[in-house]
C-alpha cells in the first residue's frame, strides 16, 4: 500500500487535501487523454475546427494548445 493511499485512507474523504489531490491527478489524466484523442483525430484527417467543435472550445484554443506540439509517435495507425 503506497504512502498516499494510507494517507488518504487515514484522512477520510472529507479532507480537502484528499479531494484536491484527486482533482490534480484528474487534471493530469485529462491532459494526457486530450493529447491521445486530438492526435488520433488529426491522424484520421479531422480539421482543427472539427476537433474544437467536439471539445466545445474555440478553434484558436485547440490550435494553440496542440498544433505547436510534436505529434505523439504511435505504433498504432488508423
Amino acid at each position: 500500500m503506497s504512502q498516499a493511499t494510507e494517507l488518504a485512507a487515514a484522512a477520510g474523504s472529507t479532507d480537502p487535501r484528499v479531494g484536491l489531490r484527486a482533482v490534480r491527478a484528474l487534471r493530469r489524466l485529462l491532459e494526457r487523454l486530450e493529447v491521445v484523442q486530438v492526435d488520433n483525430a488529426r491522424r484520421q484527417g479531422w480539421s482543427w475546427q472539427e476537433i474544437a467543435d467536439a471539445l466545445e472550445v474555440s478553434r484558436q484554443a485547440v490550435h494553440k494548445k496542440h498544433a505547436g506540439r510534436p505529434a505523439v509517435p504511435s505504433t498504432w495507425e488508423a
Binding site: 503506497s2 498516499a4 488518504a8 494526457r32 493529447v35 492526435d39 488520433n40 504511435s74 498504432w76
Partner: protein, 192 residues
C-alpha cells in the same frame, strides 16, 4: 551561483536538467540531481553510494514509481488519489492501450503551458527543494573548507536537505542518510 562548481558538478547539474526534461518538463527536483550524480560512475559520490549498496538502476526505478512514469505517465500518488474518488486508472490505461497501442497514454505528454508556467516558477527551472540542495552543497563545501563544489558536495546537500524525493528513495532503499554523510566525509578524507 555555479562559479565554484567543478566541471563534473556542472555536468551533473546540466544532466539533472536533462533528466527533468525527459520526465516531461518538470522542474528539476532532488531526484533528478541524485540520478544525475549517479550517472557518472567514477565520481566520489557514485563510489560512496555504490559502496553503500546503492544501485543506480534500482534508484531510477524507485524514482519512476514515485514520479510520472507509471503506465499512464502519472505517478503512483496520482493513481491513489484517483482511486479515492472511484476512478480506476489501470482500467483507463488498459482501454487506451487496447485502442492506441502500448504506452499510448504515457507517450502523450502535454505541451508545457508557455508564459504561464514561467510566471509560476520565478526560481528558474529548479524546484524549491533542489535549489535548497544546491545552496546546501555550497554550505557543505565551505564547512569542509573546500574551494570547489563537486558532485560529492551535491550529494552532501541532498543528504542534508533530507526531505525531497531523492532522500525518500534512498531511505526506502534501506539507507541511513546520516550514515551516508559519514561515508562521504570519510571518502573525502581518504582522498585528501
Amino acid at each position: 551561483m555555479f562559479e565554484r562548481f567543478t566541471d563534473r558538478a556542472r555536468e551533473a547539474v546540466k544532466r539533472a536538467r536533462d533528466e527533468a526534461r525527459a520526465a516531461g518538463q518538470r522542474p528539476v527536483g532532488t531526484e533528478h540531481l541524485l540520478l544525475a550524480v549517479l550517472a557518472d560512475p567514477d565520481n566520489l559520490a557514485s563510489r560512496v553510494l555504490r559502496d553503500a549498496g546503492v544501485r543506480a538502476a534500482g534508484l531510477r526505478a524507485a524514482v519512476a514509481r514515485h514520479t510520472a512514469e507509471g503506465g499512464a505517465g502519472l505517478a503512483e500518488a496520482d493513481a491513489a488519489a484517483l482511486r479515492e474518488i472511484g476512478i480506476d486508472l489501470a482500467a483507463i490505461v488498459a482501454r487506451i492501450e487496447e485502442s492506441f497501442g502500448p504506452d499510448a497514454l504515457r507517450a502523450a505528454v502535454p505541451a508545457p503551458r508557455r508564459g504561464l508556467r514561467r510566471r509560476q516558477r520565478p526560481g528558474g527551472p529548479f524546484s524549491p527543494r533542489s535549489k535548497k540542495v544546491l545552496e546546501l552543497s555550497l554550505r557543505e563545501a565551505l564547512r569542509l573548507r573546500h574551494r570547489h563544489i563537486g558532485t560529492e558536495h551535491i550529494l552532501l546537500g541532498l543528504l542534508r536537505e533530507g526531505g525531497g524525493p531523492a532522500a525518500l528513495v534512498l531511505t526506502e532503499a534501506g539507507l541511513d542518510l546520516d550514515d551516508l554523510r559519514r561515508r562521504v566525509e570519510a571518502a573525502l578524507r581518504a582522498a585528501a
